[in-house]
Structures are given as structure tokens and as C-alpha cells.
Symmetry: C2
Subunit: 157 residues, 2 copies
């Protein structure tokens, strides 16, 4: 079971391909897609959607897992992130790949053991759980890996 997990964003979008092999979580690929603030929003959204579509095809993921929007005080940003999510849902649905959504609390519970874990605790637990050889610069990438681990924990065999 291989999943493309995405922490949706238009400035930075974390992506991870994770798989359970012989009962063990394995990180196949992860990255943080970054777009320039000089580009307009439709261009940034389209770039994120295109790259995620390419990853989905390239890695042959059977599911897409997304973090459900967390309503913040900044409604405008929340709306823009929801728009990115929608573009990603469409990319997956068009390729016939089912989409699963998890709240930040669900992700933290699954990846670190409790829903109020901070980012550092989540990162530490992920390193304990699987081999992460790459140096990870941004939290968005860890978030994507955690979303993937959550999906495996909930659907895995």
C-alpha cells in the first residue's frame, strides 16, 4: 500500500510517498514544493497541482492523503489553502485515485501518540519510526510524512 501524502499550501507544499512493507513504514520520497511570491496565485496553485499529479503517476500511489484544513484566524489564507486542496482533490479524482483527509489532531495522534504534540516531537517520532536519510529543511515536509504515516496506521495491513 503506497500513499502520496500532501500538506497542502501554495507557498510551501510538503509531499511524501510512504509505504508499508512487511509491516514496516518506509519513506519512498519526500520534498517541499516551493513557489515564488512573485507569481500570481493561480500560477502557484497550478504548479503545486501539476507537480503533485506527476508524483502520483511517477510513484504509482494508490491513495492520496491530505491534511484537512485547520481554520485559522487568517480566513483569507485558509481559503487559499482550501483552494489548493480542491485542485489536488481534482487531480487525484481525475486519475481515479481515492482521497483521504485527516485533521491535524488525527495526524499528531497517529504520528506522535497524542493530538497536542508539537512539531519537534512529531519529527522525532518519525525519525524513530522510519529511516529518513535526507536532511529536511521545512516542517511542511515532516507534516506530509506524518500525514502518510497516519494514513498507513488507519488503513494499513
Amino acid at each position: 500500500m503506497r500513499v502520496l501524502a500532501i500538506d497542502p499550501g501554495y507557498g510551501r507544499c510538503g509531499v511524501a510517498v510512504v509505504e508499508k512493507i512487511d509491516g514496516k513504514e518506509k519513506l519512498i520520497y519526500s520534498d517541499c514544493i516551493e513557489t515564488s511570491a512573485d507569481s500570481d496565485f493561480p500560477e502557484r496553485l497550478a504548479r503545486v497541482a501539476r507537480e503533485c499529479g506527476e508524483l502520483l503517476t511517477k510513484h504509482g500511489a494508490q491513495s492520496v492523503a491530505l491534511e484537512k484544513l485547520y481554520m485559522t484566524k487568517n480566513q483569507k489564507t485558509a481559503m487559499r489553502v482550501a483552494e489548493v486542496r480542491g485542485a489536488l482533490i481534482n487531480v487525484a479524482a481525475t486519475l481515479g485515485v481515492p482521497v483521504f483527509e485527516y485533521t491535524p489532531g488525527e495526524v499528531k495522534s497517529a504520528a506522535a501518540g497524542w493530538g497536542a504534540a508539537d512539531k519537534e516531537q512529531v519529527a522525532r517520532m518519525l525519525h524513530a519510526l522510519m529511516k529518513i536519510e535526507k536532511k529536511i529543511k521545512y516542517d511542511d515536509e515532516y507534516d506530509a510524512i506524518a500525514i502518510g504515516v497516519t494514513h498507513l496506521a488507519r488503513n494499513g495491513r
Copy 2:
């Protein structure tokens, strides 16, 4: 100048192609895309996005105009509508067509003369402005026409 105007939604999505010819607004096409509540959300969103993409290509619209999300009390619905918008923005951006966004107040001002106009007043003004031969069943379709008229008023020659 021809625009594809969309009142985004996943249950009902109003669409209209309008154009200014010799200084006069003309309705080329309008419809209300309906999806079944029996389908899951990604399927409904993908259907709306696919049909809008087909309309865009078929009618050779040079712009896409969308209603900006109106934050309602129902956050969940607002989020889902934002997701539909995102899928539509991606469809337009992928085809290289610029996207324009208007608030409901801007649409009512442009289409009916004031921002607090009700739906009936907007519909009446649209009928006065242009030939609408088709019987229109849902407000979503009038809304799409009004969004198109707004775009022409703001960008028209």
C-alpha cells in the same frame, strides 16, 4: 471579449458564457451543472471541473470570472466551495486563461446597480440588459450570468 463566468458549487454550479459585441452584452450560453448527492465529494468536484474545462475550450473564452467565496456561518460548506473554486482556478491556469474574482457585493452592484440587491432584482436587471431566451430554473445560473456581466463592465471596451 468573451468570458466564462462561474458561480462555484458542488451540488449546483452556475455557468455562463457572455460577450460584449458592439458595446452590447450578449449571452452565448448558460446552464446549471448539477451533481448527485449520492456521489462522493471528489467525484462531484471532478465533474464540475471537467465540465467547466470543456466549456472553456468549446466557447474559446479569454477569461474566467468567479465569485469570491462569501464566508457563511457554515464553515464546512464554505470550505468545500473554496475547494471547487481551487479546482476551477487550476483548470483555467492550466489552459493559460486568466482568472478574475468578484465578491457578491461587486456582482450585485455591477448587475443591478447596488450591492444589496436581492436575487429577483438581479434577475430582472439581467433580462433588461440582454436577451435571455432560455427558461432559467435556478438562481445559480442567474448568478453566473451576473458574474459575467460584472466582468464585462469592469474590463469591457
